[in-house]
Symmetry: C2
Subunit: 331 residues, 2 copies
């Protein structure tokens, strides 16, 4: 027997996420496997803001919280995955997983070479594909255009800004600390970086994108911030709605000036997306990201929390702006 | 000399439009023309809600209000347009116009045959092209899909609903009187018609499009109505933002629950437009509309106001829901 630890939903997420939303549970997993089966042990896990929405719609109290992980095969009855193989799968917040059907449960990743395995949960995983497809497909950026990114020091936003630079755009990022702003400007090459807690978005955009010259907006935060950005957009501007982290902790939908007339007057295209719509093109996205990482055009930072026990705390930290770059849990 | 009457902006539109926003002015136009010139007399003029936005951004106090008209050539020094020719032009709210450069100032229309000339300002003019391109290009409707139209008995909305029926969609219209609802349902073939003053949009859509099954929404009204429709849309729904007539008379932008999270969760595409973006494809739209009208697939109604003096009143009526179908001014 292997003892698996898993985090389950103790009570539904309403308002602020707190430790008592989570309950650590133990489960026995037999080590005697059937043909084709694998027993895997988590190496890296991930926390991402979208898990909150997912938990609200997909997890009942008592369910294991869902999410992706990188794991190592520790017992194998499947010749394709010998002991020691590294796999990626949607196994949820759990330390051990019995894989019955590897073809269905395990997702492959591009050949990582010398790169850290945790990248498979970041720039080479869901956040990377979210940035790659969500920005390029919906914003359709052209060289010379001006791009605004909110949540710009986060796992997705930091990649979007760098992809925009690769495409020859002027990039304006908003983040919540001086340190984050320094990182995206000095290390990642953003043209402008503003601490939204110190500089109002209107003031910032009047300076960085005068005369309503924003072409593309990649939105991770929603709410009033987004209402304001829309008023700085150029005719035929494109908006990609990726996240709404400014109001995940609200118990009701935030109110504000409705944006429909801004959308009409400037002929904006505003589109929301969930990255799964591009699953069939995953390989294309991974290949591009891998090339850019190897060429040094995409840099990344990980905010590593050590220990499975601290997973809820790392998740709570996302809504408090504690992470710069990708939040990773290391076993 | 010909005495031209014209309506000018007496004071800017702020809040409700009232008769004292307008001033009737007389202007002398010489009848002795230079080679190539024409003198035209208005036959039909048009009032449309968008003129309010246009006046706010393009008209100073004292300017002639802008708009399209159908006119007859009464003096000609241009062989291409002999006396009696019927022309269409953006001459503004005026009875007589000196045309210096016919190539630039006059727009041609498809051959109308026995159809009334006023159609060139309705189904065969800007409202028709607004419905044709704004709906088909941005909503991309497919047979079997469910389409919601607000302002459904108006010049544009009534055409959108009929185009949606031609494309094989289920069509749900919202209008402001029982009589309008009866017209769009019984005459135009909408599947459902609701008087939004009597039936809340949530109640209506739970009945007509249960389980969030709206695929396309063509929006003429904006505001809270639109916030609510978005919550009834299917994943990958498309929204075409054409107008915002519910709040043109407001002095501030209306507030309400912000829609970004709805847009994200259902992966909606919301796009605003102004019909001028499709000028280069006008002929395609006119040809299609003309064919459908001749085939009896598109019906139209005109709300005719007789007399140039009543033009401001007809314009004010648009914001009070007085017209069914296209508002036309007959000289």
């Amino acid at each position: 027997m292997v003892i698996c630890k898993k985090w389950t939903l103790a009570k539904p997420f309403i308002g602020k996420v707190t430790p008592d939303n989570f309950k650590l549970v133990k489960e026995d997993i037999p080590e005697k496997l059937n043909d084709g089966e694998l027993l895997c042990e988590a190496v890296y896990l991930t926390v991402d803001p979208y898990m909150r929405i997912g938990a609200e719609t997909g997890n009942a109290v008592g369910d294991t919280l869902f999410g992706e992980q990188i794991a190592k095969v520790i017992v194998s009855k499947n010749a394709k995955y010998p002991v020691g193989s590294i796999v990626r799968m949607h196994a949820g917040w759990r330390t051990h997983t019995l894989v019955k059907d590897a073809e269905k449960e395990i997702s492959r990743s591009a050949e990582m070479g010398d790169l850290p395995l945790s990248l498979m949960l970041g720039a080479m995983g869901m956040p990377g594909m979210t940035a790659y497809f969500g920005f390029l497909e919906l914003c359709q950026p052209k060289a010379g255009e001006t791009v605004v990114v909110s949540g710009a020091a986060g796992a997705v936003g930091s990649l979007v800004g760098q992809i925009a630079k690769i495409k020859g755009c002027k990039v304006i990022g908003f983040a919540g600390t001086e340190e984050k702003c320094k990182w995206i400007k000095e290390e990642l090459g953003f043209d402008f970086a503003y601490n939204y807690k110190k500089t109002d978005v209107d003031t910032a955009l009047k300076e960085a994108a005068p005369d309503k010259s924003v072409d593309c907006y990649f939105d991770n935060v929603g709410g009033m911030f987004t209402v304001k950005v829309l008023t700085h957009m150029k005719t035929f501007g494109r908006v990609s709605i990726c996240g709404s982290i400014s109001n995940y902790n609200d118990t009701s939908v935030p109110t504000g000036p409705l944006p429909f007339f801004s959308i009409l007057k400037s002929q904006l295209r505003v589109e929301g997306f969930i990255v799964s719509r591009w699953y069939s093109r995953w390989e294309e996205g991974e290949t591009a990201m891998l090339r850019w990482i190897k060429e040094g055009k995409i840099k990344y930072k990980e905010h590593v929390t050590e220990g499975f026990e601290k997973m809820p705390d790392a998740f709570i930290g996302l809504f408090e702006g504690r992470n710069t770059g990708k939040a990773i849990i290391k076993m």
